[in-house]
């Protein structure tokens, strides 16, 4: 996630693609798919230490671009399955539509920025009520008991099950979902303990699911586990993928 916030230039794959296509304003038609793919891959290479989820998104687009290009390099296009051909063009159109949408909001955000810069030149009066009238103000604590304060504190600080860890409220968490989540989380933080991972969970069942998910990752050789003493903290270390594992978060692309 840190990449997304800190990057000076590209906040995402569409951002990068937009830039690569639009950078050369003079020779619009010189832009070649091949050139874009090369530049795109170069950029991805430059991004060292990008978190997995982000990298996957970039790679997915690169793959689409390369597929578009490679289809064209085939000696005889008539060999192509018509359905596949159409699917490919659909893919391209989708990418185009997304780029247009991305560009639209990019420009809109500049308008918002301009508005906010203008607005920031004007300072509101926040002085509030004059002393002479303060006595008139109604007692806002009317009817509030010490117990109500206690309850309000609990409301404000109670662990929230739907923190920011999930895209949707986890009604019923599955092991598969947790595996996916852990892949994203662990690739970023590297090393942690099961206790740490499950500290915001509310149900015991959730802890069990986490545990099963961690075991699954261990079985696949994606994480390493160690436990110094019996009943001690279970330490989980991220090892990473080998080539044929596939947890790509392609779902993110379904608008």
């Amino acid at each position: 996630m840190s990449y997304e916030v800190e990057t000076p230039v590209f906040a995402g794959p569409f951002d990068l693609l937009l830039h690569l296509i639009l950078q050369d304003e003079v020779d619009l038609y010189q832009v070649s798919l091949g050139g874009i793919i090369e530049a795109y891959l170069d950029e991805i290479q430059r991004m060292e230490g990008v978190n997995l989820a982000v990298a996957t998104e970039f790679l997915l687009i690169a793959a689409t671009l390369i597929e578009l290009k490679s289809r064209r390099l085939l000696p005889d296009t008539s060999d192509l399955d018509l359905e596949e051909e159409l699917a490919l063009w659909e893919e391209r159109d989708l990418l185009l539509a997304r780029l247009l949408e991305c560009k639209t909001f990019k420009d809109a955000s500049q308008a918002l920025k301009a508005l906010s810069i203008d607005a920031s030149l004007s300072f509101p009066r926040l002085v509030g009520m004059e002393e002479q009238f303060l006595g008139l103000m109604p007692d806002l604590l009317e009817g509030v008991t010490p117990l109500a304060i206690n309850e309000a504190y609990h409301r404000a600080t109670v662990p929230k099950p739907q923190l920011d860890l999930f895209h949707v409220t986890p009604v019923k968490l599955t092991v598969a979902e947790t595996v996916e989540f852990l892949v994203e989380e662990l690739s970023t933080i590297g090393k942690t303990t099961l206790r740490e991972l499950t500290k915001s969970t509310v149900d015991r069942v959730e802890v069990v699911i986490y545990f099963l998910a961690v075991l699954e990752l261990y079985k696949q050789g994606i994480v390493d586990l160690s436990q110094i003493k019996t009943f001690g903290d279970l330490t989980i270390s991220w090892i990473g993928f080998d080539q044929n594992t596939d947890y790509a978060e392609i779902n993110t692309y379904e608008g």
Binding site: L65, K106, L112, S116, A119
Partner: protein
């Protein structure tokens, strides 16, 4: 109530309020029609402007309030050291734009438009109070839906979300669409296009030269 009295009362109430006050509340307190309040406020705005006051009356985030004249910012900034809002990153701004125009919208939907995970950005925007949870998607998953807050309106100096420039204004022009389309076109097609002369441009340029 006399207009003169209403005018004075509105000025007094707005002076002691620390949030924008809407016309209906003023109308209720003064027992005059809302349209009268609006008329008076418009008049006040003009008077302050005409008298070159250092403050202005604005209608922002659904209400009226006093704020300093923008041209006086250098002096006010010398006095008010804090309060300069830290700038938002472009990623945050773009996400904010999507939410502003598409609200209510889920994290997932924003993510689909941005092409990246937006969790961190959403958290920042929420912490700054620019966006808030406005409901839950009734569909499966019950995704949280986000929308902009009145602080967002204030920060942008607008009264209502409908005061934003229409999104249609930002839909890329034909040139950009062509460039993008060309960019995603297989190479040999691009070459063909390249050889096409740009006649129209030349003709228009000529016309203008002649007409002078």
């Amino acid at each position: 109530m006399q207009t003169e009295e209403s005018r004075k009362a509105i000025e007094a109430i707005l002076l002691v309020s620390d949030i924008p006050i809407d016309a209906s509340l003023l109308a209720q307190l003064l027992e005059i029609p809302k349209t009268e309040v609006e008329k008076i406020c418009t008049q006040l705005m003009q008077e302050y402007k005409k008298d070159h006051r250092g403050f202005v009356l604005v209608n922002v985030a659904g209400g009226y309030r006093y704020q300093t004249d923008p041209t006086m910012a250098p002096y006010v900034e010398r006095f008010v050291l804090e309060g300069q809002n830290s700038r938002l990153s472009s990623a945050a701004l773009e996400t904010l734009a999507i939410i502003a125009y598409k609200q209510p919208i889920s994290r997932m939907q924003i993510s689909a438009i941005r092409g990246v995970n937006v969790d961190a950005v959403i958290r920042t925007l929420q912490q700054r109070g620019y966006i808030g949870e406005v409901g839950k998607d009734p569909g499966p998953g019950n995704a949280i839906l986000f929308g902009t807050t009145s602080l967002f309106l204030e920060r942008l100096g607008i009264n209502d979300i409908s005061d934003l420039p229409p999104l249609a204004n930002f839909v890329p022009g034909a040139d950009v669409v062509e460039a993008l389309e060309g960019g995603l076109r297989p190479d040999h097609v691009g070459e063909k296009l390249e050889s096409q002369p740009h006649d129209e441009v030349a003709i228009i340029a000529n016309d203008e030269t002649n007409s002078d």
